[in-house]
């Protein structure tokens, strides 16, 4: 049986968009700062923000190399979900955030780690996109749906972003 419901938040980070990632990490850091336990599951496009900026090393199939080439390499490269316009919108958004002194996504991720937020990467997505573990940074656990459901069953707050 799953454990009792605790003061805990589970967030699925499915999107690889900067704006949605900011929302997810804002909630995660806020919850951790309020004494809540937080787990974030990164799946599909969300995996991109855990990638190292160096990109793919070593051998991969043609499709695997294409995924690596086409998808953002790390949190500093994410597009925005609206008005991206080939990255111009994302660049303007980042500049505006800097001017307004909002934490940039890489800093927010670092903050989340310091506050003890657990980072879990979906091993199925990694397999599909041929992303090896060495290409990701700061992952506490590699897991699948059963792990998420166990954590979600113990959580008061569950979000899909």
């Amino acid at each position: 049986m799953a454990g009792d419901v605790r003061d805990k938040v589970s967030i699925i980070c499915f999107s690889g968009d900067l704006d949605k990632a900011l929302a997810a990490f804002n909630i995660a850091t806020g919850a951790a700062a309020s004494g809540m336990e937080v787990t974030m599951f990164f799946t599909f496009w969300g995996i991109s923000m855990l990638k190292k900026p160096t990109g793919r090393k070593g051998a991969a199939s043609l499709l695997g190399r294409m995924f690596d080439f086409m998808l953002p390499k790390g949190p500093a490269k994410l597009p925005i979900s609206k008005m991206n316009v080939c990255g111009i919108g994302a660049a303007l958004m980042r500049r505006q955030m800097r001017n307004k002194k909002v934490q940039a996504l890489p800093e927010l991720i670092q903050m989340a780690r310091e506050l003890g937020v657990k980072i879990v990467a979906c091993s199925m997505s990694m397999d599909v996109m041929e992303i090896p573990r060495e290409d990701l940074v700061g992952v506490d656990e590699f897991a699948g749906v059963a792990s998420f459901l166990r954590e979600a069953s113990e959580s008061r707050v569950t979000l899909f972003i």
Binding site: T29, A33, S34, G35, K101
Partner: protein, 76 residues
């Protein structure tokens, strides 16, 4: 109101004021009062909400002209 410690979160936006607050209050002894200075309008709702969530005591807010001083007593 007199505080034992002051945290400056002016110029910082959500979620940084409560992140700063949580980090600073950890080092404080129970019963001590922390002052948080912030100019984010959202903090007026968020600081009392954070206190309610964490069980620390919200003592109130002063308008310092351009920013707010929030007072929190550590209880947990």
């Amino acid at each position: 109101m007199k505080a034992d410690e002051v945290v400056d979160a002016r110029g910082l936006l959500c979620p940084m004021p409560i992140v700063k607050l949580s980090q600073k209050i950890k080092a404080l002894e129970a019963g001590k009062v922390l002052e948080l200075d912030a100019d984010d309008e959202g903090a007026k709702a968020d600081i009392p909400a954070w206190c309610g969530k964490t069980g620390n005591e919200y003592l109130g807010m002063e308008d310092a002209g351009g920013f707010y001083r929030f007072f929190v007593r550590k209880t947990t």
